[in-house]
């Protein structure tokens, strides 16, 4: 048993940490206030190979696997959750679907420019009537000669308005529903009939864009069917499984940053003639934060290791769901304690902890609510003993 990172990961972490400190941290406040996607940072990240960290080098990636990608999400989330969300939606789910289920030709054509950061990706599943109940999607795809014609609306799509290439899920056989009736498509934003709808304004991660995308007789060539025809729901679930590990890694970074901010503040804030670090009430909060963070770190990297060593079975899916539930809830408790330790100052926009608190809240909701994750975990556990949860 060995819990040390191989040296390439140590250097990768150091490089990403320097990049995050020098290039990302200085724009974190601005992108939040102005609701502006940090495109300059995204371009710089692309040049350094940070837009395709988990993918093989033959497809323009860094070849650093899920462990390397978790390091990226952890370090970026320490300084700017918005930047991390843009890259996360691009790499972790948008491009990831193509990596997991694309043909060699599709990977060459689409994954390579995405991994190099020359193009931006998004993942479009959610609809007004299909959130947690993802199988209820209504976007239709109908065969027309060599093409499919897509009609429908997707909402809350991260990168929806800046993406060049979007993984879209549509119903191809309403009678079959999720079991054989949903197909995944690779859609370019230049395809006729594609357009961007309204943009949302949000509580947190305001430097990432969240948009509605609309398909009106959108023409998609049949070569752009991703994965098996009718098996799109499996592609979606598999992609989201993987996305949950790096989401947990992002939460780990955010929680670590909250802990560090809390320690720094407690050391320097004087009340009753001494730093508040001398107060047991503060010490216990710090100790709880640190303990949960270390437990999360082990869970996240263990699950990333499972993926990199090819264990993508039902147990992996259970662990991935745990990364998402535990990660987002550890983050939630840590930013809450961090604000509490900061007192009134934690509530003021002058300090980054106010932003960290707002940014954290989405992690319990998006990419499958924590309620759905608990359902996944319990379903997998009961299935082992022969009980099917319906």
């Amino acid at each position: 048993m060995d819990f040390t990172f191989p040296k390439e990961y140590e250097l990768l972490r150091r490089m990403i940490r320097e990049f995050a400190q020098n290039e990302v941290a200085p724009i974190a406040e601005e992108v939040d206030v102005e609701e502006k996607v940090p495109m300059d940072v995204i371009r710089k990240a692309g040049k350094l190979g940070l837009m395709g960290v988990p993918f093989p080098q033959e497809y323009g990636g860094a070849g650093a696997g899920e462990i390397g990608y978790c390091i990226l999400m952890e370090e970026l989330n320490k300084v700017c959750a918005s930047t991390a969300t843009v890259i996360g939606a691009h790499t972790g789910i948008g491009a990831m679907a193509i990596y997991l289920d694309g043909t060699p030709e599709q990977k060459e054509k689409y994954l390579t420019p995405l991994a190099r950061g020359e193009k931006i990706a998004a993942f479009a599943l959610t609809e007004p009537n299909a959130g947690s109940d993802a199988a209820a999607i209504q976007t239709r795809a109908v065969r027309d000669g060599d093409n499919f014609i897509l009609n429908g609306t997707k909402i809350w799509i991260t990168n929806g308005d800046i993406a060049d290439i979007i993984t879209v899920f549509a119903v191809t056989d309403p009678a079959l529903g999720a079991r054989g009736g949903v197909t995944a498509f690779i859609v370019e934003n230049t395809f006729p009939g594609f357009r961007v709808g309204t943009k949302e304004t949000k509580m947190g991660i305001r430097g990432s864009s969240t948009a509605e995308i609309i398909f009106e007789d959108c023409v998609v060539p049949k070569e752009n069917v991703l994965g098996q025809f009718g098996a799109g729901f499996l592609t979606a679930l598999k992609t989201l499984d993987v996305g949950r590990i790096s989401l947990g890694a992002g939460c780990l970074g955010g929680a670590q940053a909250a802990l560090e901010a809390a320690i720094d503040f407690a050391k320097n804030r004087y009340q009753f003639g001494q730093p508040i670090a001398q107060k047991q009430a503060i010490q216990w909060m710090i100790a709880d934060m640190a303990t949960e963070i270390e437990a999360l770190r082990s869970l996240v990297y263990r699950t990333a290791w499972m993926m990199d060593s090819g264990h993508m079975d039902r147990e992996f899916s259970t662990y991935a769901a745990m990364c998402k539930v535990f990660g987002s809830e550890v983050l939630d408790r840590c930013v809450d304690k961090c604000v509490q330790i900061h007192g009134g100052m934690g509530y003021m926009k002058k300090y980054p902890v106010e932003r960290m608190y707002r940014d954290a809240r989405i992690t319990r909701i998006f990419e499958g609510t924590n309620e759905i994750q608990r359902l996944v975990i319990a379903t997998n556990l009961f299935r082992k003993v022969g009980v099917r949860i319906r």
Partner: protein
């Protein structure tokens, strides 16, 4: 064109903390990095590679773990890496270090330019670059902030305390580069993975250098350390224990009283 860049692995002094009880450095857990100005030298070499095309060789003398510094250089874009590591090299002063590097660079051969960092953050001597040029019998320009190559010669801007000089030298030449010269690039993510999983670092020991006896390591070092000591501790400063606003007020009034600031 072949460019040799000499680098040194050093403890990251920005991460070194003092033991509050003994007042000594805590070296444990301090990460090792490429000496910062050696990175500036490597960046100059990589810029020349980008614009004119060049084969960049990085070389270091050090313990086996100096391999990490060379792999980082490969990840930044160097083409070849050589590690000089042997117990026989241990205890070298700057002259023995320059001699060892010099023998290795003669073995590499065919170089047009040697770039070194101005000085290392752990020793601060700034001697190895100049001594290496002397050993090889080639021109040297130190404290360089800018350089251009023009058919067979190098023109460099050299920073001095009260101005700068522009100096031209025929190639091959050795230049020492300062931190003002550039902002070193980040290693790329795929470069890092490849540097560790697919690329080679060549290991040379004393046997590979055909060294004459008595030229390496402690034996080859004319420097004799007679005594080492810590500088006498400064008298402890006065600690003002008060809330920040009150403490600031007290400090300001004392500075004003001594006419250090006006007000």
């Amino acid at each position: 064109m072949k460019i040799v860049v000499t680098i040194k692995q050093v403890p990251d002094t920005t991460e070194v903390k003092l033991d509050p009880r003994t007042g000594t450095l805590i070296r444990e857990g301090v990460p090792s990095i490429i000496n910062p100005e050696d990175k500036n030298a490597l960046e100059e070499a990589l810029k020349l590679k980008d614009t004119l095309g060049a084969h960049v060789v990085v070389i270091t003398m050090g313990p086996p773990q100096a391999d990490d510094a060379l792999r980082e250089a490969l990840a930044m874009g160097a083409d070849e890496a050589i590690l000089l590591s042997d117990r026989a090299f241990a205890g070298a002063d700057t002259w023995a270090t320059a001699t060892t590097l010099g023998m290795a660079i003669k073995k590499i051969g065919g170089y047009d330019l040697i770039l070194a960092g101005r000085q290392a953050i752990d020793g601060d001597t700034a001697q190895v670059g100049p001594q290496l040029a002397e050993y090889l019998g080639i021109p040297q320009i130190t404290y360089v902030t800018e350089l251009t190559l023009t058919n067979g010669s190098v023109r460099a801007k050299r920073k001095l305390e009260d101005g700068y000089e522009i100096i031209e030298a025929p190639l091959p030449a050795l230049l020492t580069i300062t931190k003002e010269a550039n902002k070193p690039r980040y290693p790329t993510a795929p470069g890092i993975i490849t540097a560790y999983r697919a690329r080679q670092v060549t290991l040379w020991t004393s046997k590979d250098l055909d060294a004459e006896p008595g030229t390496l390591g402690l034996e080859g070092s004319p420097t004799q350390v007679r005594r080492s000591f810590s500088p006498p501790a400064k008298e402890p400063g006065e600690t003002i224990t008060a809330p920040p606003e009150e403490a600031a007020r007290q400090i300001l009034s004392r500075l004003k009283a001594r006419n250090i600031i006006q007000g």
